[in-house]
Symmetry: C2
Subunit: 389 residues, 2 copies
């Protein structure tokens, strides 16, 4: 049997990003029982810290025992009953996924599409809401990881709430890298994953549930179709009652706790500004290398940048060289962007000047070696200039 | 904020058990991308090792990205369609849970009950099968963690298969501590959790799916109601295609890989014998201390022993003393056994002579301090004698 010796790589793709070394160390702390008073104290602190990161005082603000997609399923199965109608905004892979999950609840899905790389139009949502006043939910992906578009959350949440609909928000790629204004916008369900801007390995899905949503959960007619994701039961384990539901992923919880502590120490506003600055430098570098960005400036997601790679460059080969020669991972395009676009993540711990300059330097080397025309040194110069400004 | 410094405790409850130190170290290896070739190699090795532990050559033999209960939900949502009928054997909390999960699929549940602490009667299953020849599934908990009863799996699997029904087996507390004869009995779905006899922290649910079950999955009429647990999609990520489904819990996978390596190194037969021997010593000790066991000898689960604690001893207070003074966790009774019974796990790494003698010594000290009459030294003497025999 070969030794399992994973190398330390720089993960600048769409996630997972690198976990902070403090978080990795926390993972190997000794396992406690899931009802041990010492573990319960860690759970309590974790919910408190998570409320800070989500900008909420929602009681049910907890990690679900699965990855980001488990967060999506939790939000959907708990926000809808069979036969309900839901308006789902689709502007990429993860919007499509939300529609798929929603249909499996036995709900009717009204799709509001946006072209790939563009934001969803609030007018289109307004129209859908008007035509479907009986819809119970409006669902949207805040930060679409397949396109790098930040969606106009505020306007759409307003439309949903003005019409008495619950707002379900996928914040997988935004939470920890920018504001996810749960209380400010009164979002009813927001969920995320640990492996993006929270800088913790994949495995947990933080979720927060508003008061009205909780009321709906308590009064629903049909049992939630998922036992594992049934928030009416999970909340009894996380609440004062500590009623056994399933065995919490204890060591992942240590890591998550540590990741949240790091965010609290930095302060989310400072962290958000850091993500914006480093993306600005990255973009300056890419554009100086004559690469074109996919997304219009006002809709660019600070944590994830989509960029057309130079024509003539072989997609998979270039990314493999980057991984083999520099130990840097970036992401391929998905869907309509497959073979055209790269996805570059600057998430959490990885959103640094060092990541940006390293990547720009490596990209220049590789693109030149593959015959692409790149103005020598222009990328680094432009990126550096942003930090000196 | 308080420091998070979990102490190393001896976890002799119903799980989680202690992870092997090698497994804890593996957790903090650097996170790789979930499609990184180095990670894919680890996935491949992991499925190979898991097949060994499950005693199967089933292609789909993988960890689900959730805890043991996620394994149960995966097995149920993938083995049934709405309107199907399922015979569920119920002999404790986890059988009840299986019935609950099954109902949520929209299936009709035929319940075959056994009294708490007793095995399910194959005759009762035979009767249920005869009365419901249209049932599609027979579900059973191999090792009922709430009672410590090992169920007569072989006979019941035969009844199910003779009548063309799929067999769904919860092996959460058995896998890694005894044989789970997947291929030998042709089990269609078997699932487990990492935190019991596999000696890995909680967070993954190993599952194996037989060929006929896979065929059913491929040909089902309705989409699986769960997106997250849909094996038709998950198997495309684990198969050669590596089709993206959700981001695998990378670091938990390192830990799981290491835990399986440890089992392979020991050999499952040796490991099973070790579990039997240590339980024998534990039982000798408990009985010498004049405590009565719940389960008849032939149905005792090697990894989990249920025992009536002496009358007059305060349940919670005694377990708290054990935890505070000795750092040992044992489990309380559940359901009808609440306040009457303790559950003592000797699982995986924890199934040792050291665990047994330490626990017996600690129990004597605590019971005596709480006024119970315990023959001095008899427990240790009887347990030790088993190892010398």
């Amino acid at each position: 049997m070969n030794a399992r010796n994973p190398k330390s790589k720089l993960l600048l793709g769409p996630g997972p990003s690198n976990a902070d070394p403090r978080v990795l160390r926390a993972l190997s702390e000794p396992t406690l029982g899931h009802l041990d008073p010492d573990f319960v104290a860690i759970m309590d602190e974790t919910t408190e810290l998570l409320r800070y990161v989500f900008g909420t005082s929602n009681e049910i603000t907890i990690p679900i025992s699965g990855t980001g997609s488990a967060g999506m399923e939790t939000a959907i199965v708990n926000s809808l009953e069979p036969g309900d109608k839901a308006i789902i905004c689709i502007a990429g892979v993860f919007g499509e996924r939300m529609a798929d999950v929603t249909q499996r609840v036995g709900a009717t899905v009204i799709r509001v599409h946006a072209p790939w790389g563009k934001p969803v139009s609030p007018d289109d949502v307004r129209k859908a809401v008007k035509e479907n006043p009986d819809a119970k939910v409006v669902g949207i992906v805040h930060a679409e990881t397949s396109t790098g578009v930040l969606q106009p959350l505020e306007e759409i949440a307003q439309i949903a709430h003005n019409n008495g609909m619950r707002m379900v928000v996928d914040a997988v790629t935004s939470l920890g890298g920018m504001e996810v204004p749960v209380d400010r916008l009164g979002l009813d369900f927001a969920f995320s994953g640990t492996q993006k801007c929270l800088s913790c390995p994949p495995g947990l899905a933080p979720i927060t549930v508003g008061e009205k949503a909780l009321e709906f959960i308590k009064n629903r007619k049909a049992k939630c179709q998922s036992w594992y994701f049934d928030l009416s039961m999970i909340s009894r384990y996380w609440g004062g009652e500590r009623f056994y539901h399933h065995t919490a992923p204890v060591n992942m919880m240590y890591a998550f706790n540590e990741a949240l502590r790091i965010i609290k120490e930095e302060g989310w506003e400072v962290r958000a500004a850091r993500h914006r600055l480093n993306q600005k430098a990255l973009i300056a570098g890419l554009e100086a290398m004559e690469m074109k960005l996919v997304v219009e400036p006002e809709y660019r997601l600070p944590s994830l940048t989509t960029v057309y790679f130079p024509e003539g460059v072989e997609d998979a080969k270039a990314r493999k060289k980057l991984l083999d020669e520099f130990g840097i991972e970036i992401g391929s395009g998905l869907g309509v962007f497959k073979g055209k676009v790269w996805r570059i993540g600057l998430m959490g711990t990885n959103s640094t000047k060092g990541s940006v300059l390293t990547l720009i330097a490596a990209l220049e080397d590789i693109l030149v070696s593959m015959g692409a025309k790149v103005p020598a040194g222009a990328g680094l110069q432009a990126a550096s200039a942003v930090y000196r400004a």
